[in-house]
Symmetry: C2
C-alpha cells in the first residue's frame, strides 16, 4: 500500500539534535523568549532536519484549525468569483488556506456547510449569507468568527443583538441604485422593473425605497439561483408588462437573461427597453449593445472581508465600498 517511509521529523527530533527540550524548540519557533545561543542551535537543527511543524498537532492543541472558510451563493457567477479571488489573495499573504463552499442561495445547504465547518473546528468564516438569521445567530454564539460580505443579516429577535455586532463589507447598493434610477428617470422612464434573485432582499429594499412614488410592486420579480429561472423571470416580466420601458438587473446572470429574453421576444435594447445591470463584467462591453452597468469592486469586497477576519484587531462595524455607474449603450430616452 502506502510506503511506511521514514517517519516525518517532529519537534522531538529537533529538540534532540539541538540538545534542548521540546518546549524550548516550540518557544523558539513561535517567537517566544530564549537565549541567543539556544535560538541559534534550535534554528540550525531545524533547518538541518528540514523540519516543518505539523498543522495537525498544533490544531488539536489549540482547539481550532487554521484557515478561513468562505461561503458564496455561486462561484460560477463572475461577481462571486472575483470576490473569492479577493479573499484568496489576501489570505495568501497570511499563508492561510481557504476552504470554499457554495450555498446556491439555499438556507438549508448553508446550514449544512456551517455545520461541517464547526465539525472541522474552523472558527473564521466569511459569508455571503442567505436568509435565516437564527442560524447565523447561533453560529456566532457558538464562537464562530463571522464576517459578512456583499450583504448582511440582522438579528431575528429584537433582543438578540448577536448579529448586529458582526462586521460586514458591503457595496453601496443604495447609492448605485439611486444613480441608476436618476439616470433612467432623467431619460424619461417611469415604469422601471427590477429583476432580482432570491437572497437579494437588501437590494430590492433599496430599489423600493429609492423608487418612492414611482414604485410599482408588480414590476419587481424574483428568480431562483439558476440560469433557467433567471430567463423565465425576465421573459415573464417582459411579456406580462408591455408598458415596461426600463429594467434593472440585480446581477449579471439576471442581466444575461434579460438580454437573451429581450432578443427572443424581439424587444430591442435600448430602443424598446433600457437595461442597466448590476456588476460590471468584461463581456458587458462586448455585448450587443454594450451594457450600462453599476460596477462593484467585487475583489475589494473579498479582500477587505478577509482582512477583517484575519487581522481581527479593532475593527469597524461595517465598511461600505462605492459603486459606479458606467454608461455604455443599453439605455435610451423613452419614446
Amino acid at each position: 500500500m502506502s510506503t511506511p517511509g521514514p517517519r516525518r521529523t517532529t519537534i522531538k527530533d529537533v529538540a534532540e539534535l539541538a540538545g534542548v527540550g521540546v518546549a524550548t524548540v516550540s518557544r523558539v519557533l513561535s517567537g517566544g523568549s530564549a537565549s541567543a545561543e539556544t535560538r541559534e542551535r534550535v534554528l540550525d537543527a531545524a533547518t538541518k532536519l528540514d523540519y516543518r511543524p505539523s498543522a495537525l498537532g498544533r490544531n488539536l492543541r489549540q482547539q481550532r484549525s487554521g484557515g478561513v472558510a468562505l461561503l458564496v451563493p455561486d462561484i460560477t457567477d463572475g461577481f462571486y468569483a472575483r470576490l473569492c479571488d479577493g479573499v484568496l489573495s489576501c489570505a495568501r499573504s497570511y499563508r492561510e488556506p481557504v476552504t470554499i463552499g457554495v450555498t446556491g442561495d439555499d438556507a438549508e445547504q448553508e446550514a449544512d456547510l456551517v455545520g461541517g465547518l464547526l465539525e472541522q473546528s474552523m472558527d473564521r468564516i466569511i459569508a455571503v449569507p442567505t436568509g435565516d438569521g437564527e442560524m447565523w445567530a447561533s453560529a456566532v454564539r457558538a464562537g464562530l468568527n463571522v464576517v459578512f460580505a456583499d450583504r448582511r443579516v440582522w438579528s431575528p429577535g429584537q433582543h438578540a443583538r448577536a448579529l448586529d455586532e458582526v462586521p460586514a463589507v458591503l457595496t453601496d447598493d443604495r447609492a448605485g441604485l439611486r444613480t441608476a434610477i436618476e439616470y433612467l428617470t432623467g431619460l424619461g422612464h417611469r415604469k422601471i422593473g427590477f429583476l432580482a434573485r432570491q437572497g437579494m432582499s437588501h437590494r430590492v429594499a433599496a430599489f423600493r425605497e429609492v423608487m418612492g412614488d414611482l414604485l410599482d410592486d408588480d414590476l419587481v420579480v424574483f428568480a431562483r439561483a439558476s440560469r433557467d429561472s433567471a430567463y423565465a423571470a425576465a421573459a415573464g416580466l417582459f411579456q406580462r408588462r408591455a408598458d415596461l420601458t426600463a429594467v434593472i438587473a440585480g446581477g449579471n446572470m439576471l442581466g444575461e437573461a434579460a438580454v437573451l429574453a429581450a432578443r427572443e421576444l424581439y424587444v430591442r435594447i435600448p430602443r424598446d427597453l433600457s437595461l442597466i445591470m448590476f456588476d460590471d463584467v468584461p463581456w458587458a462591453e462586448l455585448c450587443s449593445p454594450p451594457l450600462t452597468v453599476i460596477a462593484q469592486p467585487a475583489s475589494d469586497v473579498g479582500y477587505r472581508a478577509a482582512e477583517l477576519v484575519l487581522r481581527h484587531g479593532r475593527r469597524p462595524r461595517t465598511v461600505s465600498l462605492p459603486t459606479e455607474l458606467i454608461v455604455r449603450s443599453s439605455c435610451a430616452p423613452r419614446r
Copy 2:
C-alpha cells in the same frame, strides 16, 4: 475575551453516559462491530448529548487531514470557475471540505501552495498543473494523492515514472482543435493564428500537430495570465500579420481580448477575420457577433476529477472528455 463556555462534548462523555468504554463508542460510530444493544445505547447517548466528533482529534490520529485541495490558475476565468463548481458539487456529496488555491499559472506560487498543503497534511489534491514536472514528481513521491485536471504534466527524466501514473481528467483538445481547423480550412482559410497563454503548451502542441503543413510558427503567440497581456498579444498579432484571416483563441480571456483588439483596430469579425474561441461561456452568444466556440464540459472535468481523488478505487489512468464545436457567427469564408 472569548467565553470559556461549556467544554465541547467529547467521545469520553458519550462513553460515560452510555456506560461503555471510549473504544466501543468509536467503533460504533465508525461502523465497527458491536452488539445490537450496545450500539443502541451508544447511539442514544450520542444523540442525547448532541455529540459531534472532532475532526481535529481524528486528523491527528490518522496523520492526515480530511478534505481535498484544488489548485487552479485563475478562479476568475469562467472555465476554471465551472471546474471548481464541479469539484465542489462532487465533494459535497462526500461531505468533504475543499480548499482552493490559485496559482496564476506561476510555478513558484504553485510550489508554495503545495508546500502549504503538505504542512496541513492534506494528502489529496486536484490540480491544473503549471510547469515543473520536478516539483510534482517529488510531491507524489511524498505520498500526495494527485489528480490532474484540464492538463497534465509528464515525468521530467525518462527514468522517473512517478508522474505518468497520476490519473488525469482532460478534455479532448486535439479533436476539438481538429474540428475547428477543418471548419476553418473548409471556409478557405490558410493563415490561421493561435492565441495561447503560458501553460497551454499542450494545446499549442495539438495545434501545431493538427495544422501540419499549414503551420506558420510566427502565428502562434503567447500571453501571460493577465487581461492586459492577452490584449497586447492579440493586438500585436493582428497588427504584425495583416495576412491573417482566422484565429483561434485558446481560452475565453484570450477570446475576449481578441474581440476587443479587433474592434479597436477596425478589424471586422467575421468579415476580415474569423474567430473561434476555446470554451463556451454564456456571453459568447450575447457577443457581437455571437462567437463560434469549442465547448468544453468544464464542470464535468471537475466532477470526475473529484470522483477520482475521493473514491480512490481502481481508477483509470486518464479520462478524456469530448469537446464540441458550436457554430455561431464569428466565422466566414475567406474573401
